[in-house]
Symmetry: C2
Subunit: 267 residues, 2 copies
C-alpha cells in the first residue's frame, strides 16, 4: 500500500472529467490536480512546447510527493507521454492508450472514429495504439478545434455548438463507424450533442472512465492503493481564472473547491 497522492494534470479544467472518473473509481485516493490555465489551450501548439509544459508540470507535481501521474489531457497524452515517461521514476499514464484499447474492444464492425484537437490528430497517437492492438481495424480521425472554446463559453448544449459539431462530424458520417473516441477531455462535456448527431448505434468512448480503470489496475498490480479514506483533494492552477472554479464545481459537483495559484514557469 502507498498513501501518497495521485497527480492529475490538464491544460485547464477539461481534465477534471478524468479526475472525477478517478474519484468515483478509487474512492480512497487523494488527487493533486493541476490545470495550466495560464497557457491553455494546448491543442493548437507544437510538440516541443507541449513536452516542455508537461515536464514543468510533472516537476511541480513531484514536489507534492505523488506516487503516480495521470496526464488528463488528450493533447499532452498524445504528444508528450512517450518522451516525459523516460525522465521520471514513477508511473505516468495518459488517456490515449486506455481510450484506444477500449475502442478496439468495443467495435464490432472494426471501424473506429477519433475526434480530438489538431495537435492530437496530427500526432497520429490514437491510430498508432489501435494499430498496435490489431491491424484489422480502420481508423478515421477528425480535428474539432472549436469544441474546447465552445465548452469554455458554456455553450455545450447550444444551437451554435450543434451546427459546429454537425460540420466537424460530417467528415465521419459516411465512414460507417460504430465506435467514436472522445479524444480530448473537454469533449465528454459535449456528449449529448455528439451523441444526437452520431446516433444511438455509435458507442462513444469517454477516456475519463477508461483511464480510471487502467489506473486502478496499475495501482493494484503494484500494491500501491491508498488504504485510508475521505481524501482531501487539492487543486492548483497557473492562472486564477474565475471560470476554473465555476466549471470545476459543475464537473466535480461540490460546493467548496479551494484552488491555489502557482507560477508554473518556475518548475
Amino acid at each position: 500500500m502507498d498513501n501518497r497522492p495521485i497527480g492529475v494534470f490538464d491544460s485547464g479544467f477539461g481534465g477534471l472529467t478524468v479526475a472525477k472518473g478517478i474519484m468515483k473509481q478509487l474512492k480512497n485516493e487523494k488527487i493533486i490536480y493541476f490545470g495550466d490555465t495560464a497557457r491553455v489551450p494546448y491543442g493548437s501548439k507544437s510538440k516541443d512546447t507541449i513536452i516542455k509544459y508537461s515536464n514543468q508540470i510533472i516537476r511541480f507535481l513531484l514536489t507534492k510527493d505523488v506516487k503516480a501521474i495521470v496526464i488528463a489531457c488528450g493533447t499532452a497524452s498524445a504528444m508528450a507521454l512517450d518522451t516525459v515517461r523516460e525522465n521520471y521514476d514513477i508511473p505516468i499514464i495518459g488517456i490515449v492508450r486506455p481510450a484506444a484499447v477500449s475502442a478496439v474492444n468495443k467495435t464490432k464492425n472494426k471501424r473506429i472514429g477519433i475526434i480530438a484537437t489538431e495537435g492530437t490528430v496530427r500526432s497520429g497517437s490514437y491510430d498508432a495504439v489501435i494499430k498496435e492492438q490489431t491491424e484489422d481495424v480502420q481508423v478515421f480521425s477528425t480535428a474539432c478545434p472549436l469544441f474546447v472554446p465552445l465548452v469554455e463559453e458554456g455553450w455545450a448544449e447550444d444551437k451554435v455548438t450543434y451546427m459546429v459539431a454537425q460540420r466537424y462530424l460530417e467528415n465521419l458520417s459516411d465512414k460507417a463507424i460504430d465506435t467514436l473516441v472522445l479524444g480530448c477531455t473537454h469533449y465528454p462535456l459535449l456528449k449529448k450533442t455528439i451523441g444526437t448527431i452520431m446516433g444511438e448505434e455509435v458507442t462513444l468512448i469517454n477516456p475519463a472512465n477508461e483511464t480510471a480503470l487502467v489506473l486502478e489496475k496499475l495501482l493494484n498490480s503494484k500494491d500501491m492503493m491508498h488504504q485510508e479514506q475521505i481524501p482531501e483533494h487539492e487543486f492548483y492552477v497557473s492562472d486564477l481564472a474565475e471560470k476554473f472554479e465555476g466549471f470545476a464545481k459543475q464537473i466535480i459537483k461540490t460546493s467548496t473547491l479551494p484552488v491555489k495559484q502557482i507560477n508554473i514557469e518556475n518548475y
Copy 2:
C-alpha cells in the same frame, strides 16, 4: 532621427493587423514583431498573468534595441499598459487609447459600443479613456470570447460566425450606437460579418489604423522617425505554430515571412 526598430507584440497573430497598419503609415520603420503563440489567447486570463507576460515580452524586445513599443493586443493594452509603462524608459503605446479617442471624435449621437475579450471588458479600460475625454458619451460594452477562436479556425466569413456574432451583438442592437470599437486586434478580420449585422450607419473603429496614426505623431514629436528605406521586418513567436506563418502571410500579404521561435519564459 532614430534608426532603431519598433517593437510590436500580441498574444498571437491578431496584432499583425496593427503591424500592417504601421507598415502602411510609416513605410521607413522597421518592425520587430513578437506573437506569444505558446500562451495564446490572453483574453480569458487574469491581469497578473497578462502583466507578467507583457514584461517578459518587453524585456525580449529591448534585447533587439527597439526605440518604442506598440502593444498590439487589446487585452494586454487594457490590462498591462499602465503598469508596464512605468518600468521602462522608451515610449510604450497600446491600442485602447487611440481607438477610444477616435471613437469619441467620430460619434455624433454620443453612443459608443465596445466589443472586446472578456479580460478587456472586465478591465473597463475603454470606458475609462472615453470618460476621460468627455463625460457626455454613453458606452456599451460586450465580450465576444468566441471571435478569436473562430478567426483562428479560418471561419471569418462563415455562417456559424455570423450566428455567433448575431448573438453577441444582440446586446448592443437596442442601444442605438453609431460607433463601434473593434477592441481586439483579431476583430478587424471579422469586419465584414460585424458590419453586415450592425448596418452601414454604425462606424467601425479599427484600432490598427488609429494606433499607427498615434505612433506617427509620437515619433514625429520626438524626432524619432527612421530615415532609411526598405526595412526588413523581423517576426518572432514563442511557439512555432504552423498556422502563424499562414495567417501572417494572409494579413501582411507577402510570400516570404521568416519566423523565428524564442523561449519567452527566459526573459
